[in-house]
Amino acid sequence: MDRDTADRLFYQHFDEIGRLVSSAARDLSAIEAEELDIFVKEKLSADDYRRIRAYQGRNGASFTTFLAAVIANLLKDFRDHLWGKVRPTEKARQKGTNAILLERLLRERHSFEEAFEIMTTDYSIAMSREQFEDLIPHVNLRYRVRAAQGEPLEAVDSGRSPEEMAIVNQMLERYCALLKRLRQICQNLLPEDALIVKFRFEDGRRVSDIPDLLGMSPNRPRGKDLYRRLERLMGRLRESLEAGGFSALEVAAFLSNPGLGDGCDELEAG
């Protein structure tokens, strides 16, 4: 594709790009969403539309889907730029931008008290003490540094004892061991079954989203078959994991809490 064609496509789809970026930005604050919009459009037009010129249009493939795929990749870079290389946890993301910010501040080794101060002053977030405390169960407290003695908000965290966090750490090792075994099991599965397992248990994708992730024609029947297949795979995984020395309880917990093994690779490497 030449530069002029790419230029024309870019402007023809300018509104479409905006809609796709809005969809991609649903976890971001309004300001961050605007920044993403600018970032994406800059990247798409950079180097004489190099990214757009990569579009092949084979087999009736949709330009919109192509744009969405490019934006998906650009979003990753934007998030790295925004949040650093450490992602906010799903729990914080579900609670919203304030919880993401709190988690980030705790990660930067601010105490609760400092985080409250920063959020309400530097970020001008209109938030009561109660609203702030309401965010705390939604952030990853592993990021929390030891609070200063006498810090009033320490009471909020009083239920989370060092013993409990020690249990969390012990269990983490078991989770990672289960994940490692799961990966070994995947090597003996058919590629599509292995992919279903990866999407579901390693990446934590919703079961209802998986049929769309298998690259099948939209006209091909899906849904119920996938559930049956997943059920069959679950049975097989359960048996294989239990045969690998894990208790039924551990396996049940692992399979019902998919997609939480982030960092296991670093643990193994480190």
């Binding site: 990569a54 493939a61 795929a69 290389k85 119920k224 049940a252 982030d262 960092g263």
Partner: protein
């Protein structure tokens, strides 16, 4: 570590990862079987490309481009940690810790049975429990039913009835053991005790190592044990709770049901000890308080018997 966009393009040019337009074609479902299988084989190995495929779908759905009637997915990019040594997501540990620690204190209430999520949410609005025993999966605290304010004297809320019907409908669509056990819970909540026990006994038979099914079966026996000529259900409730605890020794629901069964069997000293054991596992002060109350009554009865 996932390559950034420019590095990703270079990577694709090396042939290691498919080009972004091929991933887009995969998402569109326009590849022939051979090409699709080739991409799938790559996706199994490459988390960055799996992320691209999944995020592309999510972006498309969120912008109204989905052909599917399904509701737009929540935007759920995988979480990854790259540089923070030892900074594994604590959530990962919680996945297992919920069974052994005190989940409410660590990360809020859990719902670990998606098939019951609607029912759990509907029941959370009720001030009283529908049954005396505890149901597994993340049901929040509610007061025990009593003669004056028990559920049997009043109808269930429409939300609960709708959620229970949804659970039963799910079983018709897919008769997985989870759905069968969930249907048992739905029957139990609606007061159909025989139906509940039938479903839960079948679920347990299909998957005897699932502590949640055993514990819920115990709760169903506990409820039926109060019916005329059903006193033998107290022993069944105790056995089912103990089987659950063999599988999951720190499961609060099973521990609670065991103590209730011992109460029902009038084994008061053992019941008092069982309540004390449950208090150590209880996830919230409300459960602890109810257990403390029951423990003191059991101890008082035991003391009276000892006179």
């Amino acid at each position: 570590m996932a390559p950034d966009d420019d590095a990703r393009l270079a990577h694709s040019a090396d042939g290691a990862c498919p080009e972004v337009w091929r991933l887009a074609e995969y998402v569109d479902g326009v590849l022939d079987d051979a090409e699709r299988r080739e991409i799938q084989a790559h996706l199994v190995r490459c988390v960055a490309c799996r992320d691209t495929v999944a995020d592309t779908q999510i972006i498309l759905k969120g912008s109204g481009h989905t052909l599917s009637a399904a509701s737009p997915a929540a935007f759920r990019p995988r979480r990854r940690t790259y540089v923070w040594a030892g900074s594994l997501a604590a959530a990962a540990a919680v996945a297992l810790a919920v069974y052994v620690a005190r989940p409410d204190l660590i990360f809020g209430p859990r719902i670990d049975r998606p098939e019951l999520a609607g029912l759990i949410a509907a029941m959370a609005k009720e001030s009283d429990r529908v049954v005396d025993g505890r149901l597994a999966g993340g049901f929040s605290y509610a007061r025990a039913p009593s003669v004056d304010r028990g559920p049997r004297g009043r109808p269930l809320s429409p939300d609960v009835r709708i959620a229970a019907a949804e659970v039963e409908k799910a079983l018709l669509a897919n008769d997985a053991a989870e759905n069968q056990a969930a249907a048992g819970v739905a029957h139990l909540i609606q007061g159909d005790l025989d139906g509940a026990i039938d479903e839960l006994e079948s679920a347990v038979q299909r998957r005897p190592t699932d502590a949640r099914f055993q514990s819920d079966l115990s709760a169903a026996y506990l409820e039926r044990a109060r019916s005329p000529n059903r006193a033998d259900d107290w022993s069944r409730a105790l056995s089912a709770a103990e089987r659950a605890l063999e599988i999951a020794p720190r499961m609060p629901e099973a521990s609670f049901n065991r103590a209730l069964a011992l109460d029902g069997l009038r084994r008061d000293p053992a019941a008092a000890d069982a309540w004390a054991a449950f208090r150590k596992l209880a996830e919230s002060p409300a459960w602890q308080s109810e257990a403390a109350d029951r423990e003191s009554k059991a101890r008082a009865r035991a003391a009276l018997q000892g006179r």
